[in-house]
C-alpha cells in the first residue's frame, strides 16, 4: 500500500543520495569526454605497438562489467598504502569515467572520420600545421557529429550510477534501499527513486535531441 507519509519522509533522504549520483555522473562525464578524445587521437596517431596496447586496453574495459571494474579498483586501492583513504565516490567517478571513455572514444573516432577528406586537403594546401588543423578544423566539425552521442552516453552513465552501491557509495538507489530496509516502505522509496531518475534524464534526452537537430546544420 502506498503511504504518503513514508514518501514525504523518504524524499529528502533520496535527494541527498541523488547528490552523489549527480556528482558521479557529471565528473564521470567530464573524465570520459576528455579521456575519450585522448584515446581517439592516440589510436589514430600513435606508433603501431602503443596503438595495439591501447586497443587491447579499450577492448578489455569494454568487455568486462562495470561492477567488476568498480570492485577491483576499490579493493586494489585498499591494498595500496596511501590510497586507502581515497573516498569511494572518487573511485566511483574515476572508474565510471574511464569505462565510458572507451565508448566515447569510438564516437569521437566516428566524428573525426566523418570530416570530408577535402577539409584535410584544404588544410594542407594552406600549409596549416597538424595541431592547428586538428583543433581549428577537424575537431570543431567532428564534435558536431559527436556531441549528441556523447550526451547519450552521459545519460547511460547516469543510469549506471546505481552500480556504485557495490563500493558502498550511497547514491540514489542505495539511499532508497536503505530507507526501505529501515521502514519497509520499499514501494515508496523505489517509486520515488524511479521518478527522480526520470525527471532528471528525460529532459536531458530531449535537450540532446534538440542539440542534435541544431548541430545538423551550420
Amino acid at each position: 500500500m502506498w503511504n504518503w507519509e513514508f514518501a514525504a519522509e523518504a524524499l529528502p533522504i533520496l535527494l541527498r543520495g541523488f547528490v552523489n549520483t549527480l556528482i558521479a555522473t557529471v565528473v564521470g562525464t567530464v573524465i570520459a569526454a576528455i579521456l575519450g578524445l585522448i584515446l581517439a587521437v592516440a589510436i589514430r596517431g600513435l606508433p603501431r605497438w602503443i596503438n595495439w596496447l591501447v586497443r587491447l586496453l579499450v577492448a578489455f574495459i569494454r568487455n568486462t562489467p562495470l561492477v567488476v571494474q568498480l570492485l577491483f579498483v576499490y579493493y586494489a586501492f585498499a591494498d595500496i598504502p596511501g590510497l586507502v583513504n581515497v573516498p569511494a565516490l572518487v573511485i566511483g567517478f574515476i572508474v565510471i569515467g574511464i569505462h565510458y571513455s572507451t565508448y566515447m572514444s569510438e564516437s569521437y573516432r566516428a566524428g573525426i572520420d566523418s570530416v570530408p577528406p577535402g577539409q584535410f586537403e584544404a588544410a594542407t594546401a594552406l600549409s596549416l600545421p597538424p595541431v592547428r588543423t586538428f583543433t581549428a578544423i577537424v575537431l570543431p566539425q567532428a564534435l558536431r557529429a559527436t556531441i549528441p552521442s556523447l550526451g547519450n552516453y552521459a545519460v547511460a552513465m547516469f543510469k549506471d550510477t546505481p552500480f556504485l552501491f557495490a563500493i558502498s557509495v550511497v547514491e540514489l538507489v542505495t539511499a532508497a534501499k536503505e530507507f526501505g530496509g529501515s521502514t519497509f516502505a520499499y514501494t515508496e522509496a523505489f517509486t520515488l527513486a524511479g521518478i527522480i531518475f526520470l525527471v532528471a534524464s528525460y529532459p536531458t534526452s530531449l535537450l540532446i535531441q534538440r542539440l542534435d537537430r541544431r548541430l545538423a546544420t551550420y
Partner: protein, 279 residues
C-alpha cells in the same frame, strides 16, 4: 562537359598576356624531374619531366585518367611522390637527392615550401565551421604569423576583388557554389602564393555561375604575375589565359605549345580527337 560556346564567359579582348620569364637562365617556378606516381599497382605518371617558368600560366588538358589532376596534387603535396623529384624555385619540395640517395624532406620543411603554393579545388573545400572571413585569415594568421588586424584588412580587400564584400560574416554553406569558389580563390590568394594550382575549379558549378569565377581568374591572370598551373575543361578560358597548353595522355606529355597551336593545329591524332570531344 557543356560546350564552351554556352558559357557566359565570352573571350575578352585577347588576354594573351605578356610573356613569362622563360629565358634559359631563370630558375623554373616548378620543375618535375623523373617524376613517377603510382597508386598501388597502377602507374599514373612515369618518367615525367617538365618545367614551368615563373609567371607562366600552363593549362593541362587530356582525357580523364591521364594524370593531370595528379600532377597538381603532387605539387600541393596531397599525394606522395613515388619516384623522382619536384622542385619549386629550384628547391626540393618533398624529396631530395643526398649522397646519391632519394631522401624525404622533413614535413616541416615541406610545409614551409608549400606556403609558396596555393590551390583551388573543384569542390571548394571551404571550412564550414568558419565564416568567410575566418576562412581567409586562418592561414595568414596561423601559418605566416600575420597580425589579425592586418589579415582582416587584406581579406576584406580580397573579398572586394572577388566581388563578395558583403559576405564576410556569412558561413560558406549559405553561399552559392560560385560564391564559395570565389571565397576559395580569395583564401588561396591571402597567402600571396607564387604558384596557384587550379583543379577543375568550375566543374562543380552550375553553368550560369561559371562566368563569375572565370572572370575573377582572368583578373588575377591579367593583374598579377602568379605562376598558374591549371586543369580545366573550359577550353576558351584556357586559350585566353594560358601561355602554354600541355596535352597529356597516359601520364605522358603528348604534345605542348602555345594555345593557338594546340587548339588550331594539333599535331597528334589523339589531341585532335580529344579536342573535338570537348570543344
Amino acid at each position: 562537359m557543356p560546350p564552351t560556346e554556352n558559357t557566359p564567359d565570352t573571350p575578352s579582348s585577347s588576354a594573351t598576356p605578356s610573356g613569362p620569364n622563360t629565358s634559359a637562365s631563370a630558375t623554373p617556378a616548378i620543375e618535375f624531374k623523373d617524376v613517377e606516381k603510382s597508386f598501388g599497382p597502377t602507374t599514373v605518371l612515369k618518367n615525367l619531366n617538365f618545367t614551368v617558368a615563373p609567371g607562366e600560366r600552363v593549362t593541362l588538358i587530356g582525357p580523364s585518367g591521364s594524370g593531370k589532376t595528379t600532377i597538381l596534387r603532387l605539387v600541393m603535396t596531397l599525394e606522395e611522390l613515388t619516384g623522382g623529384y619536384i622542385f619549386v624555385d629550384g628547391e626540393p619540395l618533398t624529396f631530395e637527392e643526398r649522397d646519391g640517395k632519394r631522401v624525404e624532406l622533413p614535413k616541416k620543411r615541406t610545409r614551409e615550401m608549400t606556403t609558396r603554393i596555393g590551390m583551388v579545388f573543384q569542390q571548394f573545400n571551404l571550412f564550414p565551421n568558419m565564416t568567410v572571413l575566418e576562412n581567409i585569415i586562418e592561414a595568414p594568421v596561423h601559418v605566416l604569423g600575420t597580425s589579425k588586424d592586418e589579415a582582416v584588412k587584406e581579406a576584406k580587400a580580397l573579398l572586394a576583388k572577388v566581388g563578395l564584400s558583403d559576405k564576410a560574416d556569412a558561413h560558406p554553406t549559405r553561399l552559392s557554389g560560385g560564391q564559395q569558389q570565389r571565397v576559395a580563390i580569395a583564401r588561396a590568394l591571402a597567402m600571396s602564393p607564387e604558384i596557384l594550382l587550379l583543379d577543375e575549379v568550375t566543374s562543380a558549378l552550375d553553368p550560369e555561375l561559371v562566368g563569375d569565377v572565370l572572370g575573377v581568374l582572368r583578373d588575377i591572370a591579367e593583374t598579377t604575375d602568379i605562376t598558374m598551373l591549371l586543369v580545366t575543361h573550359e577550353m576558351q578560358f584556357a586559350r585566353d589565359v594560358s601561355h602554354r597548353v600541355m596535352m597529356f595522355d597516359g601520364g605522358q606529355v603528348l604534345e605542348e605549345g602555345p594555345p593557338d597551336q594546340i587548339f588550331n593545329n594539333p599535331s597528334h591524332e589523339r589531341t585532335k580527337s580529344f579536342l573535338s570531344s570537348v570543344l
